[in-house]
């Protein structure tokens, strides 16, 4: 173990079995500033060497227990003591052989006694110096190695840092490239967007000099001015840099406030919308302005036309004879023209539209409102919807409405709007006409009844008497020609009687008055089927033991009669189905054939009595008793006549 360093004195172990000599050597060494230890045997020397860091051992070759040579070898073979210097001294083993043996045994020096103390010191110093140098060299080497290792580590670290830095740099370059590409793309997109806008767009500095202009503006002004960049904004739009009055952009540039206004420019035709906004840098300092000029000439024109249209509409709305309105779905008036207000007896549309007034409260029959709502929900409109309505003074009028729903883009119901017509007079006329018709039909029926009765009572009796007379003559006459003549007369009389009975049935069957609709129809249908040779399937429900109103029974009988006549005349049918049904207060009549069918609506619209008179008559008869009659027919399929009557007086909805 080495003790040698630059600050602590060298530690020398003096090994000699002579105490005096050990004293001398120790004193000598201590005088020179060394730290001296003593050992008198080889074993003690080795012990001290093992325990204590030493620099040099002054070792007597001849020791009492071990040879100094062996001790030296032991010292030099030790892992920690190999660096300890050994200077052999001997007074007895002084030959060259001993010298060689000692040096080859590992000793760093071999002195023979007697020795000059200076020589001894010189050897000690030289050896220690050498060791110091060696150790310094080793330290230097170690330091160098450490420095080298550190350097290498630093190099590695630095290399790693460089690699990481390089990677970062590469990544940064990649990112930068990507950003640049994105920037280029964004710039291109901005350019495209800037140039795609059809309005004039330009960016100017605080002096009003154009820095950038889009394609639309360039197309407009470059043919006149050339390149717009660097040109004064005023020159473009006013033709001069000193316009008569300040233009809006001047206000933006001087006050930094945005401007939006409509106006005209001396250098352009038409009207324009100008929007100009200040442009500021990061510190809030204004450096310029952006200006947008849009041609609104067409829009102005459209607005003017719209205004004109609106005024026309307003004129129509205000002055129309018919009532025009809009209402919410729950029946609140949203708008109303003066006509509808007058119709309902209000002083003004505003009074009509007040919250207290709800549309439904004007309905005389609330059920009609339900029908109206159902039709609106189903069809989206109603046409010629007639209803009775209360005026403000609770008097009743008849109105006819054409209403449609208004929806938004999503299809949601927003409100109703429509036209209302006061048809009170027309209804009165209609009622009068119906009344006249009713009276006419009634008179007609009465007359037919009377004629039928007279035929039955008088003619029938006369024919019966005639037949009896002829029968009695037949019994008296034995002349064959006369007998056959009588027989022929009987046949003629029977025929007359049959014809009369048919006529009576056609005019007014007595069973209708005496036995009721079910029986009368049964008889009629049976006879008709026999005569026409067309199978008829007749069903009656709910009327076997019940009678209806006389007029209603007559109407139903006549309608079935007319329907079957039409089948016979026009349908070319093989079979007919007649259903008569009464459920509660509702009576339904259905006559359906499998004939050739026809276009019912077309026929109804066709002028000429023969074409539509039968159908029209059926409808009118049905209307007289408050019923609804529908005729469904498709060419090639057949015809169905449907009639529905509510004997309770409830409104029937047309299908």
């Amino acid at each position: 173990m080495s003790n040698l360093n630059q600050t602590s004195p060298a530690r020398v172990l003096v090994v000699d079995d002579s105490a005096d000599l050990r004293q001398v050597f120790c004193k000598l060494l201590e005088r020179e500033g060394y730290e001296a230890l003593q050992a008198n045997t080889g074993a003690e020397c080795l012990r001290i060497v093992a325990e204590t860091p030493l620099d040099l051992v002054l070792l007597d070759v001849v020791l009492p227990d071990l040879s100094g040579i062996d001790v030296c070898k032991h010292i030099k073979s030790g892992e920690k003591s190999a660096g300890v210097l050994v200077l052999n001294i001997s007074g007895m083993k002084t030959s060259s052989f001993n010298l060689i043996e000692g040096l080859e045994g590992g000793a760093d020096g071999y002195l023979t006694k007697p020795i000059d103390h200076r020589t001894l010191l010189a050897h000690v110093k030289a050896l220690l110096r050498s060791k110091r140098s060696e150790e310094a060299r080793q330290r230097s080497e170690q330091a160098l190695k450490e420095a080298h290792d550190q350097l290498e580590q630093k190099v590695h670290q630095r290399t790693a840092e460089l690699i990481a830095s390089n990677d970062l740099l590469r990544q940064e370059i990649t990112d930068r490239k990507r950003i640049e590409e994105a920037l280029v793309a964004a710039t291109a997109m901005w350019e495209q967007t800037f140039n795609a806008i059809p309005d004039h767009l330009c960016i100017m500095d605080v002096r009003g000099v154009i820095l950038r202009a889009n394609q639309a503006m360039r197309n407009c002004f470059e043919p006149v001015h050339g390149d717009l960049v660097g040109l004064d904004y005023e020159l473009c739009y006013y033709g001069t840099t000193t316009p008569e009055r300040d233009h809006p952009c001047a206000a933006v540039l001087s006050h930094g406030l945005p401007v939006v206004c409509e106006g005209e420019f001396p250098m352009l035709e038409g009207s324009y919308l100008l929007a100009s906004y200040p442009l500021r840098d990061g510190t809030g300092q204004q450096w310029g302005a952006i200006s947008s000029v849009r041609d609104i000439t067409e829009r102005k024109r459209t607005q003017a036309a719209l205004k004109e249209t609106e005024e026309k509409y307003r004129g129509i709305f205000e002055n129309a004879i018919e009532g025009i309105f809009q209402s919410t779905l729950d029946g609140r008036f949203v708008s109303a023209n003066p006509a509808i207000a007058r119709m309902f007896g209000y002083d003004s549309p505003q009074e009509l539209m007040s919250e207290r007034n709800l549309v439904r409260e004007h309905y005389v029959n609330p059920e009609q409102r339900k029908v109206f709502t159902r039709l609106m929900e189903k069809n989206g409109f109603v046409r010629d919807f007639e209803l009775q309505a209360y005026r403000k003074d609770r008097s009743i009028i008849w109105t006819s409405e054409n209403v449609r729903v208004v929806r938004d883009e999503a299809g949601t119901l927003l409100y109703y709007e429509g036209i209302v017509e006061d048809i009170t007079r027309r209804k009165e006329v209609e009622q009068e006409r119906l009344e006249l018709l009713r009276r006419l039909v009634s008179a007609q029926e009465d007359e037919q009844r009377r004629i039928s009765r007279e035929l039955h009572d008088q003619m029938g009796q006369s024919l019966a008497a005639l037949l009896l007379g002829l029968k009695s003559i037949q019994g008296i006459v034995d002349n064959e020609p006369a007998r056959s003549q009588v027989q022929r007369l009987q046949e003629i009389t029977n025929r007359i009687a049959d014809d009369m009975h048919s006529l009576i049935r056609e005019l007014r069957p007595t069973a209708l008055d005496d036995l009721g609709l079910h029986t009368a129809l049964s008889n009629y249908i049976a006879e008709w089927s026999q005569q026409s040779n067309i199978a008829v399937d007749f069903h009656s429900y709910g009327l076997s033991n019940c009678r209806l109103d006389n007029q209603l029974e007559t109407t139903i009988y006549r309608i079935v009669q007319e329907a079957l006549n039409n089948v016979l005349k026009h349908a070319n049918a093989k079979s007919v189905s007649v259903i008569l049904e009464k459920r509660g207060s509702k009576v339904s009549v259905i006559v359906e054939d499998d004939g050739i069918g026809f276009d019912a609506e077309l026929l109804l619209r066709t002028p000429g009595r023969h074409g539509r008179f039968g159908l029209l008559g059926m409808r009118e008869r049905s209307m007289l008793v408050g019923g609804l009659l529908n005729i469904e027919s498709t060419p090639g399929v057949g015809t169905t006549v449907l009639m529905h009557i509510d004997t309770s007086g409830d409104i029937l909805e047309a299908e």
Binding site: S18, D20, L21, H117, L120
Partner: protein, 135 residues
């Protein structure tokens, strides 16, 4: 190396050793001649100072004993005493010893004498003078 042979508790004697050490010499003190002989077999002394008055033997006798040893032939031996021995500078003493120094000689004189003898004996290259000693 100077060997100072004495077996005396006199403070003067011990102080002489100290003076000589301060003067730069390596001084070994020995109580017995045998010790000197033993030491001298290993480390050659340049000069031996021997106190004449000693309990067991005369210092001159010790000097004579030392002279008989071959390796001490050229050695400088200087006795120390209180009184100059008679015939000090005559034979046979002049062959036996190289000089005589009073035991209470001033340190610088002692050092001067020692250095002169060492110089003469080629043991020193120069002599340092009185200001070397701090007594």
């Amino acid at each position: 190396m100077l060997t100072h042979i004495h077996r005396c508790a006199s403070p003067v004697v011990t102080s002489n050793s100290r003076y000589l050490s301060q003067g730069g010499h390596f001084v070994i003190e020995a109580a017995w001649v045998d010790a000197v002989v033993r030491i001298a077999h290993s480390v050659v002394p340049w000069l031996i100072l021997v106190a004449i008055v000693r309990p067991e033997s005369n210092g001159l006798e010790s000097a004579a004993r030392l002279r008989r040893i071959s390796q001490f032939y050229g050695l400088v031996i200087i006795p120390l005493g209180w009184i100059t021995p008679v015939g000090m500078y005559q034979e046979p003493l002049t062959s036996l010893v190289n000089d005589y120094v009073d035991i209470d000689v001033p340190p610088n004189d002692l050092l001067f004498t020692i250095d002169n003898h060492l110089l003469t004996n080629n043991q020193l290259t120069h002599v340092a003078f009185p200001d070397r000693i701090n007594s």
